[in-house]
Subunit: 373 residues, 4 copies
C-alpha cells in the first residue's frame, strides 16, 4: 500500500491536484478522542494556498469534511475519512504540460512508471496530496498534546539566508505564535525579513529557491522506536523524504557531526537531580548531538532534525525538455506555484512528525505495555 | 515486524552480538536463481571483522550456512534462511557495561524501552546484526546484476579528510577492484592513504572518527518507486538511517542543492540520439541534481546519495555516565571495536541499496506489469 | 490496518450506517484499466436495499462517485477513492438501541472493545460497510474478466430449503442472468420459489433465516496462492469470515469430505488430450474434491466453496438482553432489516472473491514473473 | 511476506521436510517473559513423529535450539529465532516423486507456481513446516496462560466415528491430561478407542482417513478482534485454513446454525449476578451459538470452532497421475506418513489459536489501551 503510512496509526491518502478532491483515511485512531472539524481546519489553514503574498495564489478554502469515525464529537476507533473538495481548478492552464515533461518534476517518471498520468497540475505528484497528511496530522498532534508532546517546525534557511548558527543553537523552543509571526515561518524576525525579501525577488525573476526546515520535538518519553529497521530516526527520515521536494535529512549533529571525534561527539549521561524521577528516569545528557534518538529509540531528550528542500521545480523561465514522443522542445512554466515551498512545508513537516510519533507510541505500548510478567 | 524490511522481497534479521549467532530469512525471493554459499560468503568477507588493521580485531570467520530455500543450487521461491554462528565471544569483557550506560550507545534507550537488555557487546543493537542484511543483500545484488544494475558504495570523507570536490564530481563509476584496493574503501588512493593515517592516529589515541559514504547505482530503469509514501528515495533514506551510527542522508544535490535557484538546479531533459531507444526511452538529463529520482520514482539516470556516519561511540577514554540505578559514574571503553565504521559499512550500504531496489522492482512489476489492458 | 484487505491490490473501507456516507480507497490498481462509474453502479445495484420485496426497504440509491485515480476514463495507478453518501437515515428509529445491546449483534462487543459506539443502525458493524467492498470488487472483477476469469455466487440453501444434492452437483456454471432471474439469487427456479416463500413467511412472523451461498470460479490459472500462510484458500476463508453474519467456510469437499477415505477422496491427475497445451499445462483432475486449490495454490481446476450465513440477528420479536449499565431488560427489534441476508450477500461474496484473486495474481507475478534466470 | 503470520506478534517460518532443518522467528514478543527450551520442547513433543503407533514412524527428536531473543532466561523483546535440525532424512525414498505429481498433494501446484520444487517429502509443503508454528505457539500459550486463558483442541470425529452430539454438547472444558490420555487426542475414551481402531484399520489397508477437530478457548476477555477485516473469527479461519489438509472452518453454530430461525439462534444477554463484576462486565449469554465472537470481536464467552481435515493424501495404493512432462502414469505411495493427521494436528491447532489471540490482544491494547482521553 504505497499510499499508506504507519503500521498501527495508519493513514492512506488519495486524490489529485485537479480531480474532484483530496482526502485521507486514518485507520487505528484510539477511541474517545474529542475531535472537531474546526481543529483540523486550523491546521489546514496553515498549509493553505493564498495565505500570504509569498505563496501560490491558487484560491482554495481547503474546507474539510469529516465523513466517518467521529460520533457525537469523539472518535469511535473506526476509520476516520476526511474529504477536501478541489475548488479552483484551471485544468486548461496545464494544457501545455500534457505533452511536455517539466524538468525536475515527476512528470517523466510517472509516465515511465504507469504509462499514463494525470498531467493537470502534477496530478497525484502535486503537493496538494499533503492536505490529507496535514488533516491526519492534526489528530495525531492532538493525541500527542494530551501527553505533553509539542512539535515545532520552522524555516532556518532560505537559499543562503540562514538564522545565524549561534542564534539557532541558543534558540528556546519556539511557541506557535513565534513561528506564525511572519509569512515565512522563521522565528528569528530579522532573518525572516531577509528571507521574505529573497522570495519576493526570485518570484519577480520567475525563479525559485529552496532551503532548510528544522523540526524540534519536546516531551517524547524514552523508549519510542522499533529497531532494527523501524528505528524512530529511520521512520522520520522516510516520512521527510516522502514529501515533495525533499532531498536530505539529518538528525542531531547530522553531517556536521562527522567532523568531530568520538570524544567530542558523545553525549555524556548526567544523573538527575533529586526529585527529577527515580532511577534512570531523571537522567539527561550533557549535550544532545544524538538528537534525542540512540540506537533508533528515543532517549528522553529533545528530538531535532533538519530537512533539505530543493528549489521549486516550476519556474517561469524557458527550459529545455523533451515531449511525449521524446523529441527536444522548450517549456515555459505556467500555472500558479510557490516560489519557495518552505513556508507552507513547515506544518506538513510537523504533521508527518506527529504521525510517526503516535504510530511508534502505539507500537511501543503494544509490545512493551500489554503483558507484564 | 520491526525486524523486517521490504514488502515483496522481504528480509527478517535476528541475533545478538554475543548470543548463539545471527541470521536472516528472505521471504519472497524469485525462484530459479542460482545461489551458492560461496557467493554469500564473499560479501560477508567484505564486512568481516579483522580484515585489516584499521577495523576491529574480533576473530570471526562469519561462515554462513544456507538452511532452506535453495535446492540443487537454485532458489525455490520458499524462504531462504541463513545462519552465522558467533565464535569469538568474550562476554566477560563486557561485564563493566552491565550496569553502566555507554554514552551515545543504544544501552540507555534499550533499557528504557524493553526494561531489559542483553548488554554483551550491545546485544541486538550491535552492528553484528547487519550480517543478515549483507547475506540477503548478496542475493539481491545477484538478482540486480542479472538486469545490468551495479551498486558501488565507497568512503568519500573520514572526519575532515575528503576526496576533493572536483575529483569526486569527475569520478568514473568505480570498479569493485578500485574500491577494494585499499583498507578504507576509498577509490582515490591519495585520499585513502590520508584517511588510513587518520584512523590509525585516532585509534592510537583511544578515540574514533566518522565520515561520509557515497553510493552510486547505475543501470536502474525508469519507473521504480512507489509514491506517495514508498518513494524510492524515502525507502533508501529509511534503509540508511536504519543502520547503526547513521545520522544523515541526502540524495542528488542534497543539502548543498538548497543554495541554488530553480533555474540553476533543474535538470533539463535532452532527447536521445537516434538509436538510443524509441520515444522517451532514450531521453536523458543534461545534469543530475535529482540524483536519479524524481517524484519518488527512478528516472533512468544514475542514482547517487550520501550517508553520514557519526564517530564510533565506543572510545577508550574515560566518560561520564549513569549506572543502572541512575547514579553518576565513570566508564572507560573496553571490548574490541572499530575506530571508524566506514570501511566495513560500505558493503552494508550496498546491501541495503540492493534490497530496496529489488523490492521496488518486484512491486513495480506487480502493479504495472501484471495485467495489460 | 484492520480496515484494509489485500497486500498489493489493497482496499480500505470506511463509513457507518448512519454517518455521512461509506466509501473505499483502492491502493495498487494497475494503470490503464478502463473504468466508469456506471460499471461500479451496476454491481452496487445488485446489493442495494429495496431491490425486491424480500430485502430491507431502506431507500438508498447508493449512487457512487469516483473521486480520484481515474483520468479520462482509465485508471492511472493512483489510489481510487469512491464515495456513496447515505441518504435514508432515520437515526431516531434506533434510539431504543442506544442503551440496549441487541442479542447476537456486534453492539456489546464494540462497546467492550472501544468504550464507545455509534449505535445508529449498527454503525461501523452494519453490512452497509460492504458497499465499499462491492465497489472495489467491481473493478477487481473487470480485471479478472480481461483474463477470462468468471465468478458466480448463488444461494444454495435457505434454512432447510436447498437445491437438491444431485442438481447442485450437476449444475453447469450459471450465467449471471440465471442467478439474477429471481429475487433470491438461486439458479434453480423451483428451489428459488420455495426459498422466497420461506423468507416471506419468516418476515411476516417477525423472524429471520440464514443459509448457504456457493461460489464458483472458473478460468483461474494454476499457480495463485502464497504458502505457507497466505494460501489462496486461507485468504478466501478470511475474506468470507470477514463478512457480517458468516459462521462457516468450506472449500471443495469441505466437512463432508472428511467422511471419505483417502483412496476415495484423492483427485487423480489426467493427462491433457493432444492440443490442450503442452507439458503439464493440459493436465486436469478426474474429480475435484480439492476445490481447485492444493497446498494453498490454485491448480487450474474450478474453484468452489460454501459460505454459511446465520439467520439475521435483527428480529421483530421481544428478546432478553442487558442495558448499558448491565441490568436486565427486554428489546424488540425496530428499524428496517433483511429477514434473510443471502440474496444481497451473493454479490458481496463475489466481490471479496475477486479481491482475493486479483491480489494473489499480482503477488504471484511479483515473485515469479519479475525476474527470469 | 507469505511465510509470516500476525501483525504485532508476528512469526516467520522457514524450512523444508528434507533440508537442513526447519525454524521460526518471532518478531514482537513482549520482553521479560520467562522462557526455556524445555517448555518449547514439551509442545514440540506433542506434534512429534513416532509418538504413538498411529502416527508416522519417521524418527525425529525435533530438538529445538533457541538462537536469539532470550537472555538469562527471559525474552528481551528482540526477535526469537528457533531452529530444529532435520535428522531422519531419507531423500532417496522420495525419488519416485521427483517426476510424478502425487494426487491431492501440493506437488503439481508448487511446480506450476514456482517452476521448480524440492520434491523430497513435499519440501516446503510438508506438515513438517508446522514445527515452527508450534514452537512459536508455545510461547504464545505461555503469554496467554499468564492472563488466565486456556486453549484446548481435541479430535471429535475420525471419518464417521464421532463423539456423540449430546456428549460433545455437555463436555466440560477438557484438561490437558484428558486430551493426552490417548493416542488420538479425543477426550471421550470410548470414542477414542473406536477412532484408534479405525486408524489402524485404514493404515493396514494402505489407506487414510480425515475428521474434525474442535478447539475451545476460555478466559478471553471481551474486546479482541479488529473489524472490519481482521475480525477475530476471520483470522482464526485464515489460521486454520493455512494448515495442511484443512478444508473447512466453522465457529459457534457454524453450518448447522443456518437451519435455525433468528429467534432460535440469537444469544440472549443475561445480567451478571451481584459480585460478577460491575456494569456490563458481568453479563453473559444464555446460549453461545455465536461461539464467543460477535461482529468479529470476542464477547467474553467461550470461543469454540471446528476444523475439517481431509484424509491424508499419501496412500499406499496405486493411483493415476501425470508425470513432469504431462504424460499419464501410475504412482504408488512410499515414504513414511500419517494415516490420519488429526492426532498430531491438535497441538498445531492450539498453537495457531494462541498466535491469533496474542496478536489480537496486543493490537487491541495498541489502539484502545495506549492513550486515555
Amino acid at each position: 500500500m504505497p499510499n499508506s503510512f504507519g503500521k498501527v496509526f495508519a493513514i492512506s491518502t488519495w486524490g489529485e491536484s485537479h480531480g474532484a478532491g483530496v482526502g485521507v483515511v486514518i485507520d487505528g485512531c484510539p477511541p474517545l478522542l474529542p475531535v472537531t472539524a474546526e481543529e483540523i481546519q486550523a491546521e489546514l489553514d496553515r498549509r493553505r494556498p493564498g495565505q500570504s503574498d509569498i505563496v501560490t495564489p491558487r484560491k482554495e478554502a481547503d474546507a474539510v469534511e469529516i465523513l466517518s469515525g467521529v460520533f457525537e464529537g469523539r472518535t469511535t476507533g473506526a476509520p476516520i475519512a476526511m474529504l477536501v473538495r478541489n475548488a479552483d481548478q484551471r485544468p486548461g492552464a496545464y494544457d501545455g504540460m500534457r505533452g511536455k515533461f517539466r524538468p525536475s518534476h515527476a512528470d517523466f517518471a510517472y509516465q515511465a512508471k504507469f504509462g499514463v498520468r494525470d498531467h493537470r497540475g502534477g496530478g497525484r505528484s502535486s503537493a496538494r496530496e499533503t492536505i490529507g497528511r496535514v488533516a491526519a496530522g492534526a489528530i495525531a498532534k492532538k493525541i500527542l498534546a494530551s501527553k505533553g508532546v509539542a512539535i515545532r517546525a520552522f524555516v532556518t534557511r532560505v537559499q543562503d539566508i540562514a538564522v545565524p548558527e549561534n542564534v539557532l543553537a541558543g534558540l528556546e523552543f519556539p511557541s506557535l505564535a513565534e513561528v506564525e509571526a511572519n509569512a515565512v515561518r522563521c522565528p528569528h524576525g530579522e532573518t525572516a525579513a531577509a528571507m521574505i525579501g529573497r522570495i519576493r525577488e526570485v518570484r519577480a525573476a520567475g525563479d525559485s529557491v529552496g532551503g532548510v526546515i528544522r523540526c524540534r520535538v519536546r516531551g517524547v518519553p524514552a523508549g519510542l522506536g522499533e529497531p532494527v529497521f523501524d528505528r524512530l530516526d529511520a521512520d522520520l527520515a522516510k516520512a521527510m523524504l516522502s514529501l515533495p521536494a525533499v532531498k536530505g535529512f539529518e538528525i542531531g549533529s547530522g553531517f556536521a557531526g562527522t567532523l568531530l571525534r568520538g570524544s567530542q561527539h558523545n553525549d555524556a549521561w548526567i544523573a538527575g537531580a533529586p526529585g527529577e524521577g527515580g532511577g534512570i528516569a531523571g537522567a539527561r545528557t550533557a549535550s544532545n548531538r544524538s538528537g534525542g534518538v540512540q540506537g533508533g529509540i528515543s532517549n528522553g531528550q529533545e528530538i531535532y532534525f533538519n530537512v533539505a528542500f530543493k528549489p521549486t521545480a516550476t519556474i517561469m523561465l524557458p527550459q529545455q525538455t523533451v515531449d511525449a514522443r521524446g523529441a527536444q522542445t522548450e517549456l515555459t512554466g505556467s500555472g500558479r506555484h510557490d516560489p519557495c515551498v518552505l513556508p507552507r512545508a513547515a506544518p506538513i513537516v510537523e504533521a508527518m512528525t506527529a504521525l510517526v510519533l503516535v504510530d511508534h507510541w502505539m507500537r511501543q505500548n503494544a509490545q512493551c505495555g500489554t503483558f507484564v510478567f
